[in-house]
């Protein structure tokens, strides 16, 4: 299939754009479901995590408050101990009786009882119930810790049942909780942990519910002077007073209607709502609330979270259940529960699940809208890209079409017209931008046409030249033919000359043999001369050795003469000293007068003797000096003679070497002469062969002549071809 360039480029652009857009749209549609699922899952996960965290925060708040409260109650205990020490001890006065109206800690009336009076330092506790009346110890303690409630309990029996005899805890507004009973065995039939600890003399800390209010409590035994436990004191810190806990519960919002709540898990008051949003449900008991399916959501939540807390301290128990709202409709709810064991309280964050679904639907809707907008934008972009492709295709195709038209004109041979149209195209190469392919193509096409034009012109010209050259070649070939004929004559002459050379070489070979014999004789003679020179050299070496020996002996003589000279000097010295002695002897003899005359004569004789000795030594000294100079001259002469002999010996040695070299060289000539002789024989043979070759050359010349005639015919044909080329090239109008 063949399509135009314009259609090709345009189709390519549109296909690539539409295909890309289609792939994007298909991918978006394909992943839409997955992305929405993923988003929903992430929302669920995030919600769950947030709600879990809220539940944990509430739990942590309980723990913080508990710690703070324990510190506070311990401080109050210290103060109480101090007061008791100051005021004196507790005791029971069995002689005095008080009537007390009793009730349990839920407020259920239990009737009047008579009890022995409990005293502090002998002062009895009056069973005051009116808050406006001062009640001694408990009110004194309250002045220091205003938010803490204090109650004094009296032990009723060995079992440990206790009844409150003095308190600032209110049973109802303005009425003190005097008469409140804490029994050893609870309503549920279980033993009271409070009583169990107190009667063994141990302090006990828990969270207790009194009249539907929750208190962090500390129970401490009261002992009399004998150490018997006669009652207990109760320090109570109302949880409601910790406004941070209430604030936290008030501020927790999950979805539109989700909330947080603290529910008691204590066996006395299970299901009691301790802290609720805006305190609306405080004091309500939700233990027995159930849905249409007969499920007790609160009861199940408390039991399951308590069981979980026994295994894992702060784990969250997540429950899903149906809940009937105030309008009587039932919806599915989720609750995140953690059980705070020290308080026996469940922190619960709960919400309707359909509210979370609404959030998810909102996100999904937003995502779908975004996807549709993206698709719309993609379509618009596709249209814009197609429009741009058309414009660019036109820009690209236009110059190529122009070149195509020029190529057609070129095919028709209208080179001159093509050249005229190309004049509009940039001709300066330095201005060409090689990154622009179209511009480069135009310039290259223009350059190609220019070069082609020149080539055709050149071919045209060459055709003419070839034609004239063939004519010239034809003429030259004829001349060559004549020259070959001349060559044939010359070769005959060369053949004759070669025969003469062969004869001469043979004669020369015979002469060389004679020279070879002569050289052999000369070498023998030279070898004899060399042997004589060797003998002469040996003699010279002996002379040099003898001269060296003479020189050594002369040196010894010289040394001896030096020794003699030293002896002469000694004699001279002795003679001189003798002279001096005789001189002084003569002087002394003269001074002695007549007595010294004889001695004077001896002195003079000695002086004369010394003089003669002196003269003799002078003569010997002169002779020795002469001998020394002669010996020195002899040594020098001998040295000179030795050197001369050595020089002569060296010269003879060199002469011997030269002679040996001459022998070697002459010996070397001999094989050359032999070679020469052989070569002369060869030369003679070669000359004969040349003669034969020349004859063959003559035959070849004749063949060449025939070949040249054939060549002339070919040249004629070449000329005709050149004429044909000229005609063909003439089609192009340059």
């Amino acid at each position: 299939m063949k399509i135009s360039l314009r259609k090709g480029i345009l189709s390519l652009s549109i296909i690539s754009t539409v295909l890309t857009a289609a792939i994007i749209i298909l991918l978006t549609l394909f992943f839409q479901g997955r992305i929405i699922d993923l988003a929903e899952r992430e929302v669920d996960k995030s919600t769950m995590k947030s709600v879990k965290q809220l539940s944990r925060d509430l739990y942590d708040m309980c723990a913080s408050i508990d710690q703070a409260s324990v510190l506070k109650l311990n401080s109050a205990l210290e103060l109480y101990k101090q007061k008791i020490t100051n005021l004196g001890g507790f005791s029971i006065n069995p002689g005095l009786k008080n009537t007390v109206h009793t009730r349990d800690h839920f407020g259920e009336e239990m009737g009047n009882i008579q009890i022995p009076v409990m005293t502090l330092n002998g002062v009895p506790f009056a069973p005051l119930t009116d808050m406006n009346q001062k009640a001694g110890l408990v009110d004194q303690l309250r002045e220091i810790f205003p938010n803490t409630k204090f109650s004094i309990y009296e032990r009723l029996n060995p079992m440990g049942d206790m009844v409150c005899v003095s308190s600032n805890l209110e049973y109802k507004p303005g009425v003190r909780a005097v008469g409140t009973m804490i029994t050893t065995i609870k309503k549920s039939g279980k033993a009271s942990k409070i009583i169990k600890n107190i009667i063994t003399g141990t302090n006990y800390h828990n969270v207790s519910v009194f009249f539907n209010e929750m208190y962090i409590s500390l129970y401490v035994p009261i002992k009399n002077f004998n150490g018997d436990i006669i009652g207990m004191v109760h320090f109570a810190d109302q949880i409601k007073n910790y406004t941070k806990l209430q604030d936290m519960v008030d501020n927790i919002n999950v979805g539109e209607t989700g909330y947080a709540i603290l529910i008691s898990g204590d066996s006395f008051t299970p299901g009691l709502c301790v802290v609720s949003k805006d305190s609306k449900a405080n004091g309500k008991n939700l233990w027995n609330v159930r849905n249409s399916q007969g499920v007790y959501p609160v009861r199940n939540g408390v039991i399951n979270s308590k069981a979980l807390a026994q295994k894992y301290k702060d784990s969250v128990y997540i429950a899903h259940y149906n809940w009937v709202n105030p309008s009587g409709e039932e919806f599915q709810k989720a609750a995140y529960n953690i059980y705070y064991t020290p308080w026996e309280v469940m922190s619960c964050v709960t919400f309707y699940e359909y509210e979370m679904k609404q959030s998810k639907e909102l996100i999904t809707g937003q995502f779908k809208s975004l996807m549709y907008i993206s698709l719309g934008v993609a379509l618009v972009l596709v249209l814009i890209l197609i429009y741009i492709s058309i414009i660019f295709t036109r820009l690209l195709v236009k110059p190529i079409n122009h070149i195509k038209d020029l190529a057609i004109m070129m095919a028709d041979g209208n080179i001159a017209e093509v050249t005229a149209q190309l004049s509009q195209i940039e001709q300066d190469e330095s201005k060409i931008n090689y990154n622009n392919e179209i511009e480069t193509l135009e310039f290259s096409f223009s350059k190609m046409i220019g070069n082609l034009s020149k080539l055709i012109y050149q071919v045209h010209k060459s055709g003419i030249e070839v034609s004239s050259s063939t004519v010239q070649i034809s003429a030259s070939a004829r001349e060559l033919e004549a020259a070959v004929a001349e060559n044939a004559a010359s070769t005959k002459e060369v053949s004759a000359t070669s025969k003469v050379i062969a004869d001469s070489s043979e004669k020369l070979a015979q002469r060389a043999e004679g020279i070879s014999d002569e050289i052999s004789g000369t070498v023998e003679l030279a070898r004899g001369g060399q042997d004589n020179l060797q003998l002469m050299n040996n003699a010279m070496t002996s002379i040099v050795k003898a001269a060296g020996s003479i020189s050594t002996n002369l040196n010894n003589i010289n040394k001896k003469a030096n020794d003699i000279s030293g002896i002469i000097k000694t004699i001279d010295k002795i003679s001189d000293n003798t002279t001096l002695l005789s001189l002084n002897a003569a002087i002394q003899a003269e001074k002695a007068g007549d007595q010294g005359k004889g001695f004077s004569v001896i002195a003079r004789k000695i002086n004369e003797l010394a003089d003669q000795t002196n003269i003799a030594t002078k003569d010997i000294e002169f002779m020795v000096k002469q001998m020394q100079s002669s010996v020195a001259a002899g040594v020098m002469e001998m040295d000179k003679f030795g050197k001369e002999v050595q020089k002569n010996s060296d010269d003879i040695f060199k002469l011997g070497n030269h002679l040996a070299e001459i022998i070697n060289r002459i010996g070397g000539i001999l094989p050359i002469i032999v070679d020469l002789k052989e070569n002369m024989h060869y030369q003679s043979n070669d000359a004969n062969q040349i003669s034969e070759a020349i004859e063959q050359l003559d035959v070849a010349s004749r063949q060449t002549k025939e070949a040249l005639q054939e060549f002339n015919k070919v040249a004629e044909k070449l000329n005709q071809s050149a004429q044909g080329l000229h005609t063909e090239v003439s089609v192009f109008k340059v």
Binding site: K573, D576, L580, L583, A586, I587, S600, R604, D611
Partner: protein
């Protein structure tokens, strides 16, 4: 009379042996500061410092050779009560000669006051000029010089 002979520049000279204490071999002398040129130094004779006069240098202007035959004669001044000694150096001081005092003739070539050789002896074919030792030793300048030398005082 015994005369000790010596040689200066080929001529014979003599000293009366009475003046001669001893003839000793040539020894090197120690130079003396501020002394005249012909006083070539001092020698130690019998543990005594004695000035040495080179007679060759004094009479001919050339120093003595210093050969074996060059000798030093230690002279003693006969008329001096202190017994002042000087030493003279001369060449070929090797022989003596006995002569009679009458053989001496006066040297007419110089004035008697200045000449150190006022007498000449002619004997055995030789002409010997006798050295006037007393004049040599008594010359005022010499004595002053010697005193100065011994006193280690510079000559002005």
């Amino acid at each position: 009379m015994l005369v000790v002979l010596f040689d200066i520049d080929g001529q014979k000279f003599g000293i009366d042996s009475h003046y001669v204490k001893e003839v000793i071999p040539y020894v090197h002398s120690t130079p003396v500061l501020y002394a005249p040129v012909f006083v070539i130094g001092e020698i130690i004779y019998q543990e005594e410092a004695v000035p040495l006069i080179d007679l060759n240098l004094l009479f001919s202007g050339k120093p003595a050779d210093g050969y074996f035959s060059s000798r030093i004669a230690v002279l003693r001044l006969l008329n001096e009560p202190q017994g002042i000694k000087i030493a003279v150096l001369a060449n070929k001081m090797t022989t003596t000669i006995n002569c009679d005092e009458n053989e001496f003739v006066h040297n007419n070539l110089s004035s008697p006051e200045d000449s150190l050789f006022e007498e000449v002896l002619r004997t055995e074919g030789m002409r010997i000029q006798m050295t006037a030792v007393e004049k040599l030793l008594h010359r005022k300048d010499y004595i002053t010089l010697l005193n100065n030398i011994y006193a280690n005082k510079p000559v002005v």
